[in-house]
Every structure is written in structure tokens, then in C-alpha cells.
Symmetry: D2
Subunit: 130 residues, 4 copies
């Protein structure tokens, strides 16, 4: 957020929702990276392979979306919107998958919350973009 305030030109987005989305995206990417690795170290890893994969996709998509949203020079609303849609979908999918193991694995519970928060922040920003 302090960084957003220093951008030397106009930002055509609600800065509060934008900062919230970037923070949620970065937190979700980190949670997914850690959850994928924690799953790999569970003795039940064979039942968690879809979870590992969904975590890896979600981490990559969130990290890229955070980067795109952090750039304002030559802003193209269509790309941001399409990427936010893909990202919200990845977060929903990963939140569901991790949520299914939340009772058994604390890392999945925390990660599923990060995914749901991130999905909400992406949808919030999309709504504000109109």
C-alpha cells in the first residue's frame, strides 16, 4: 500500500481494493507453495497428489496476477480482468481441494482459508472494475 501511493501517474482502480488484492495474492501464493511441500512430506502423499498439483497451479497463477496488478504503466483493463477471472477460479478450486483435507492436515486448513480470502479479494476487485 505505501508503494501504491508513490506511483507517479494515475491509477484507474480503487487503490484500497487493489492493495487488498495484491496482499491476498502474495499470501495465497506463499501458502500454496508451502502446502504443496507439506503434502509431499505427509505419509498419505499418494492421496494428496491432486492437492499438490492444484497448489502449484494456484501459486503460479496468484504470483503472476500479483505482478500484473502491481504494474500501472500502459494499463490494459481487459488483461487484468481475464487474469483475475482465471485466478479466482484457481483459488476456488484450490480452496475446495485443500478444504477437503482441512480436518486432517492443518496446512491444508490454513491454505484453504488463504485461497478463499484471495478468491474474495479477486472478485471484489473485479466488481469494482465494473
Amino acid at each position: 500500500m505505501p508503494m501504491l501511493q508513490t506511483y507517479p501517474a494515475t491509477i484507474n482502480l480503487d487503490r484500497g481494493k487493489l492493495a487488498a488484492a495484491i496482499d491476498a495474492l502474495i499470501g495465497c501464493a506463499e501458502a500454496c507453495t508451502a502446502c504443496a511441500d507439506a503434502c509431499l512430506s505427509e505419509s498419505s502423499v499418494a492421496e494428496l497428489t491432486k492437492c499438490v498439483r492444484t497448489n502449484m497451479d494456484c501459486a503460479d497463477i496468484c504470483a503472476t496476477t500479483a505482478r500484473v496488478l502491481s504494474r500501472h504503466t500502459g494499463y490494459d483493463a481487459n488483461i487484468s480482468r481475464a487474469l483475475l477471472e482465471a485466478c479466482a477460479m484457481a483459488c476456488k478450486s484450490c480452496g475446495d481441494e485443500c478444504g477437503a483435507h482441512a480436518n486432517m492436515h492443518e496446512h491444508c486448513r490454513i491454505c484453504s482459508e488463504a485461497c478463499r480470502d484471495c478468491e474474495a479479494a479477486c472478485r471484489d476487485l473485479l466488481a469494482a472494475m465494473g
Copy 2:
């Protein structure tokens, strides 16, 4: 492509179009990274800032799309489709932007071709996914 043949389970996609898309995505990401840097070293960099930004977005989105398409475990067609849509849009935008400087900068000309090839490969794969 040789790597695709070694995947130990079913891939629910046309392997030829999938391999073509992954190759195009990786080539486009590399071209965009190099073009962003070449723009920075042009004396006319002040007129190329939108190009640098579009290149950076396109590089990030293509790299992430290539990764997601390279994973088949727990495949989710909806995420692949949404990401391919966002990626084709970023390639179109970057191909147009670089295309506008193709007469003046050879790196923009090569990059714009890589973007158009990649957009076509993404659309081809999307069409095959139905």
C-alpha cells in the same frame, strides 16, 4: 513433446496441439523478456514504456500458462481454459504493441511474431478443448 509421451496416466487433450502450445508459450515468454530489456537500452526508451510493460506481463502470463499446461495430474479443464483465454489476450495486446514498433526495432518485430504465433497456438488448443 518427448516428455509428454512419458506421462504415466491419461492426458485428455490433443497431445500435438498441447506440445505446440507449450513450445509457443515458452518461446514467447523468452522473446518478451529479451524485448523488454532491449527496449530499455534504446535511446527512445521514453516512447517504449508501454511496450516494456506489456512485454513483462506477457512474459509472466506465458510462463505461468506453460507451467499449468505441463501438469496433467488432477487436471481441471476450466482453469486451463480461463488461463488460455487470458494468455491469448495478453499475446494479442503485446503482438499489437510490438508490431507498432516493428519497423524501427528488429527485437519488436521478432517479438511481435512470437506473440502472434503464441496467440494462435493458444486459440488452437482452446478450440480443440471444445
Copy 3:
């Protein structure tokens, strides 16, 4: 940090310093991505091209280092150490470059602080690894 506590096996590192390093790396990657873009939108962009490039390198290296440090399965201390050395060097270089423009651009001032904090966190973790 809460995520670190859920890892189901042993972590052969000081968890406090590890969490501090991961947080600093993620914050630095985000600051560098935003600073590169803010530099592109300055009217003096032609004097900031080295800054943009150093920011892009630092963002990529910090993001990758954060990912590697977030994985503990099959831990290899030599890779973590070599990557932390490269990362501390990139942070030093970017902190110096942004520091040179800190008086003129608030985004460079904030980014240079994030780089110095991150360099210190990397060196701290390296020292703890022995």
C-alpha cells in the same frame, strides 16, 4: 510463520530466521516489481533504465529464493546457501541502485529499504546455517 508450524517433518533451520527471511523476500520481490513499473512512468525514465533492470532481476531472484526456502522435503543445504548468496548480492545491488535515487523518487526510497532489509535477512539466515 503459522504455515511453517504445520510442516509434518523436521526443519533443520532456525524457524524464526527462516520465517523472517521468507517474509522479507516476498516483500522485497513485491517492492521491486512495483518500483520497476513506477520508474517506467517517470518522465526521467531514460536515467532509470539500470534501476528498472536491477529491480526486475531482484524481483525474480527474491521470488525464487522464497519458494526454495518454503520447501523442506528432501532439503539440500548447499542449494539454499548458494541461492541465498546470489540473492543477498542482488538485494545489495538493487538497494544501492535504488538508494542512489531515493532523494528524488519515493518508490526508490521504499524499495531500497526493502532490499536492505532483505539482504540482512538473507545474511542472518546464512549465518545461522553455519
Copy 4:
């Protein structure tokens, strides 16, 4: 390589070795991403978790190294060198790990070759840098 020829300023590196390294890095990153996913779909995944992790690290480090080497504006030999050292180490480690399963899994055999080629290309470039 065609892209390298269009860079508008001086490149203080052997362009042939540089192009070879970037190609090898991109190929290795892709092989490692695919091998991690193929391992997840093997029935023996529980014995391949270190392989998945090493693949993920190697993919991330190679992708970042390819990006840094693709930038020439404001070149800093020390960062390139430190990153190439870390990358060669990650490729060695992943080549060894995948090599240990090469007889059983064709994806590990192909990936281990990509890692060894990439390690050699990194060491070649390092030697040329002096």
C-alpha cells in the same frame, strides 16, 4: 539467438555460449516442471517426493537464471556469476536425483539429461566469464 543479435548495445559475453545457456535453462525448466508432475502420477509417488521437490527447485532456479541472462541493460557480472553457480548446483542435484530413477521412469531419464546438459552449459558460460 536471433533475439540476442537485436540487442541495441554491447553484450560483454560470448554470445554463442550465452544463447546455448539460455536455451538449456529454458529446456531444463520445462523438463523439470513436467517431471515433477509425472512423478506425482506414478503409483510409487511416495518414493519420489524428494525428486518432485528437487524438480520444483530446479525449474524455478533455471527459469529465473534464464531471465537474468536475457537482460543486458546495466549488466552486473557478479549477480550472473553467483546465480549461475547456484543454478549449476541445482541442476547437478536434480540430475543426480532423476538419474537414480532413470531406469524405472522414462521422464526421469529425459529430465536427468536435460539437467546435465544445463549444468554443462552453465559451467561453460561461467568459464567464459573468467
